[in-house]
Assembly symmetry: C2
Homo-oligomer: 95 residues x 2
């Protein structure tokens, strides 16, 4: 799971790993906002992580915006078309 | 894939099945709005279907709102806890 300030990239670990990353990020005190970014199958994991954090751990965390999009990935070797992959971004703020 | 007016429930078929359902729904002329509802792993398929429809087929379709949530499902036989499953709702409007 890569990180840059306030942004958590969701991969294929279990949702709980990202829940922990969100909690750590918000308790660092640098910012009261965190953004989850996911693409492809990891999109479902991003929603899981957001919901588990909000419901079980940080009750005053609210979803401020959700955006969907598409990213063009370079063609795999032997293919000659770029691949399109869906993306999801969830921004959450702690009051 | 179940249907009620203007709502398309996303299951585990390929995204293209739902793209077709969206296009059919919008061309019926009943409404210029359609809502995709998905839970669990199907959440990624919902985003795929929305993005494919918007980018490839109906260019003037815009996402008007996206919401995430959690649904409590009854416990499976032999278990005594309800299961929580994440949900996603994407509302889109054709201009």
């Amino acid at each position: 799971m890569s990180k840059q300030s306030g942004v958590i990239f969701i991969g294929n670990k279990p949702p709980m790993s990202y829940v922990l990353a969100i909690i750590t990020d918000l308790s660092s005190g640098k910012s009261n906002e965190v953004t989850l970014k996911a693409r492809g199958r990891a999109i479902a994991t991003a929603v899981d992580a957001a919901e588990i954090t909000r419901r079980r751990f940080i009750k005053d965390l609210t979803v401020t915006s959700i955006a969907i999009g598409t990213e063009e990935l370079p063609a795999r070797e032997g293919e000659n078309r770029t691949r399109a992959v869906s993306t999801l971004e969830i921004k959450m703020t702690k009051k």
